[in-house]
């Protein structure tokens, strides 16, 4: 309880609240700009939080995160362009709704659904994370290694269309993580005697290069579209705050179901808001009495999509806090920011830094409240944000990436690495490889390696990995997840073939 109050005091101090307010506004603005993802917004806010206290920094980043999931709604509802991948399903119903002359209602429903989604997921997080961590502390290096193998296999099979490409991306990530200094013996390896590689590839540089730079580059692919600005939907924007709140609350089953889906999807490594909103929308449509009205501007669709994607924020924090395994790219950045502040992330986090963890819970709740208030009072202003043309965004954000990378270590060589990783990331993206497994490979690689070698040093017997029951379960689960992915892939292919035959 002491720790809880300590965490609360730090989050609720005036300066932290002010920074969080700025953070949630920045998150909403960033996500409202098409082509600027939540991940990018958080990557860019990281260097700005270096000088803050650890909890203050992480609270700001959480508010950017929560704000960002809502901001994607603005361009989804008004332009029909998802501002971030996590609001794809929002366009299905919110856009028709605003076309039918109710843009204010569409936005308002989305904002309220996001708010409740975040709140429900925070509640689940508070309940689920501590017991899981207590269990995880008992795990030895064997179990931990097997757990990470399992996590990586889920990542590779969940993300993208092809299991093979997912696995390749994850392996490239692991290979990148072996460059630099050996974590146990401190020997240099795979550095080809290049000074640039001697310190390894810091994973923040890889994150910025892979996500931000390659994303920006793919934004300018379409040479013609970039030169003209886009016009925003015109219409009466009237918020009707309380009326809509009752409307959202009157759909408790939909709200809770979509939020739980969001939490579960968020807790799986590799899957995030971009999958959750589609799954939640799909489930709601199936459960609905009037599925044919979905896609024409029905409130249920907006509620499902927005509460689903917002709920992944809390879900993704469960494995991060309890196990030290990030569930998505965004959680990886949050983990990085904790590590930059010298806090070791793992199952002991909740015991050693209880005030920090409780502070994070409170920060989640506070930032969703802040997001709500900010949206209600200034939604009209944010509408203009979606009009910012791409030719402004791309170069300016590139400069921000470069500055952010440099500020991490004050090393000029990091900038060269950034350029190289950016080109690699764009190449992979252009070839349709999923990027999330790669980044999680880079982050989980060193953890897996350290645990593996610690296990072998304690006892050189390889069979321990399969004779220790918990470890065996994780390894079998890993094999099962790959097998399941292959099976569903096969099934999809045969059904596609059958379709083609039917057409002929």
């Amino acid at each position: 309880m002491d720790m809880f109050l300590k965490g609360a005091a730090e989050v609720l101090s005036a300066s932290t609240l002010l920074y969080m307010l700025i953070g949630s506004i920045a998150g909403i603005i960033a996500a409202a700009i098409p082509g600027f993802t939540v991940t990018m917004a958080i990557v860019l806010s990281l260097p700005l939080t270096f000088t803050m206290e650890p909890l203050q920094g992480i609270a700001v980043m959480l508010s950017v995160y929560v704000g960002g999931y809502t901001g994607g709604l603005i361009s989804a509802a008004l332009l029909g362009i998802p501002g971030t991948p996590s609001s794809v399903a929002t366009t299905f119903d919110a856009f028709p709704m605003s076309r039918n002359g109710e843009p204010g209602r569409a936005l308002s429903i989305g904002v309220w659904a996001s708010f409740f989604g975040t709140m429900i997921s925070t509640a689940v997080l508070v309940v689920a994370a501590p017991p899981l961590a207590v269990f995880a502390v008992k795990l030895g290096p064997w179990e931990y290694f097997s757990l990470i193998v399992f996590a990586l296999s889920i990542v590779a099979s969940l993300v993208g269309k092809s299991l093979q490409r997912g696995l390749i991306a994850a392996l490239i990530g692991l290979a990148i993580s072996t460059i630099g200094t050996d974590p146990i013996l401190g020997r240099p390896r795979f550095d080809f005697n290049l000074e640039v590689l001697a310190a390894g590839l810091p994973f923040l540089v890889v994150l910025i290069g892979i996500f931000a730079i390659s994303q920006l580059a793919s934004e300018v692919e379409d040479a013609a579209a970039i030169r003209k600005g886009e016009q925003i939907a015109k219409g009466d924007i009237d918020f009707k705050t309380w009326q809509v709140m009752r409307e959202v609350i009157s759909r408790p089953i939909n709200l809770v179901r979509s939020s739980i889906i969001g939490v579960l999807v968020g807790a799986l490594p590799g899957a995030g808001g971009s999958i959750a909103n589609l799954v939640a929308y799909d489930q709601t449509k199936r459960a609905s009495k009037t599925p044919e009205r979905f896609g024409e501007g029905i409130a249920d669709g907006v509620v499902a999509s927005e509460s689903g994607n917002s709920a992944t924020a809390g879900g993704g924090l469960i494995p991060l806090i309890a196990l030290g395994i990030p569930g998505s790219a965004v959680d990886a950045i949050l983990m990085a920011s904790l590590m930059v502040h010298g806090i070791s992330v793992g199952p002991r986090l909740i015991m050693d830094n209880a005030d920090l963890v409780y502070g994070m819970f409170i920060a989640m709740a506070v930032s969703s409240l802040m997001m709500l208030v900010v949206c209600i009072f200034s939604m009209r202003t944010f509408l203009r944000v979606a009009e910012v043309p791409k030719w402004v965004i791309v170069p300016v954000v590139l400069v921000c990436c470069v500055v952010g990378t440099f500020a991490l270590n004050n090393r000029v060589t990091d900038l060269y690495l950034l350029g190289a990783v950016g080109v690699l990331g764009y190449a992979l993206r252009a070839l349709d490889y999923p990027l999330a497994p790669l980044v999680l490979g880079v982050i989980l690689g060193p953890i897996a390696e350290t645990n593996l070698r610690r296990a072998l040093m304690t006892d050189g017997d390889w069979t321990l990995f399969v004779t220790r029951p918990v470890s065996l379960i994780f390894l079998l689960a890993g094999i099962a997840s790959v097998a399941w992915a292959i099976r569903s892939h096969r099934r999809r292919q045969t059904s596609k073939k059958n379709d083609e035959e039917a057409v002929q």
Partner: protein, 116 residues
Amino acid sequence: MLVHGCLIVLLVSAITSSLRRLPASAYAQFAGDFQAWLKARQLVFVLFVCLGLYLAMMPVIGYSIATFVFLAVLQFWFAPKTKSAAATVLVLAIVFSVGLNWLFDEVFNVFLPRGV
């Protein structure tokens, strides 16, 4: 080291198996396709060339000047050719080169490269 050996073997085998899936005709069309692709993605290449030059020049001429030039060149290249767009470009270039440099120096105590 055994672990890394396994990784490399897996990676290479995965890559070769995906290469094998390509139909033979794809190799014949490759040159033509490649040129079309280059044309379609010209702006991406402009972007990466500028970024490379920018990063290479930064330690030499300093952050402010390099950023100003980079922003101005890239934005003028992408932007519509109108007066108001040009004004926006210049304002943004100045704000992000001089302004960010000041912000990091004064507020965060991070010294961006000054050049020689």
